[in-house]
Subunit: 199 residues, 2 copies
């Protein structure tokens, strides 16, 4: 039926390629865009185009940026001795949002996952080791995800960095704020007990 | 944090205006688009732009179309005596998909909703009555939604069309295919009993 309206069918197809958006949602979004003023649709189209045109990866930390080096790498107010390693730009953003870290970052762009064919050469690990060679960094905080892949990546990196005489730390395991103990999984409770602190 | 990457923040804002897409989903989609090849992003941007450029409403039935009159109105194989009235283009598409109707359509572009300030003049009702004046139509099938607004609109239209001596019908109420009677709401069961048929 939609074949008789090719430009509509085309937008539904393109929207349907986005993650978590199936045929039904894509159709709903296309109808929404159709009912919007042309200026709104133009703004969305232009924003998509602008993203691909303007955004690149920082040549130092591999975070997304419009200028190279990125504002985080070129900010003189941050601590060069501390380096936080994350999997993805969105993880960096989450840590920045917490305002708990004032060092530099390094984005791996993934985690080791042999089953998916992701090995050390597919991540920015060579570039990380190169950055550590200038002897400015005294502590590497491994902030990969707390998944099987993220944990494996953290262990792998720790083994590579320890010989360089640099302190390697990992984000704390524990109970998330606002949780009811009753509903926290047993592995997390276990780690929280192991990591208990004096008050 | 995202303020330091204006083109990224802009896309998140624009995507966040779409229905059912909040800040988090918008960010996820923006990262997905960022990781896609430029050609994919360009295809999406172009599809959005193309939609607004090419699609108009058919001047006869007010369905979305790229040519005027639309393929449904200009198809000589359809029955001019039967006219199906729907609220939105997506309702028309749903009926077409069922392959159960071979007449013409009329899209109202909404339903009467006094609380939302939608009155008869905001819908394509005047245009509907104009179409009925050429005496080709012998039956109007009201296929507005089975909501309070859709039902009210159907009743309102029936009262306007009856004096023209045209047969007015409504889609059947009943139990949807594949339903378990136990879980069907009581109003629907009530209507299904009232509308029971001989076998």
């Amino acid at each position: 039926m939609l074949n008789s309206i090719p430009s509509f069918a085309r937008l539904v197809t393109e929207l349907g390629k986005l993650p978590g958006i199936g045929q039904k949602t894509a159709t709903r979004l296309a109808f929404f865009i159709l009912r919007q003023p042309a200026s709104e649709a133009e703004a969305l189209a232009e924003a998509i185009r602008g993203l691909k045109e303007k955004i690149r990866f920082c040549s130092r930390c591999f975070h997304i940026t419009e200028s190279d080096p990125c504002p985080l790498c070129s900010n003189p107010g941050r601590d060069d001795a501390l380096l936080c390693v994350v999997e993805e730009p969105q993880d960096l953003i989450a840590i920045e949002r917490s305002r708990s870290f004032r060092g530099r970052y390094h984005v791996l762009h993934g985690a080791l996952s042999p089953l998916d064919g992701v090995g050390p050469d597919d991540l920015k690990i060579r570039e990380l080791l190169l950055r550590l060679k200038d002897h400015q960094v005294t502590e590497v905080l491994l902030a990969t995800n707390f998944t099987v892949e993220g944990e494996a990546t953290a262990l792998y990196l720790a083994r590579l960095i320890h010989p360089l005489g640099i302190r390697v730390t990992r984000l704390a395991y524990g109970i998330p704020m606002g949780s009811d103990l009753e509903f926290v999984d047993e592995v997390t409770v276990n780690r929280a007990v192991e990591g208990r602190r004096d008050l």
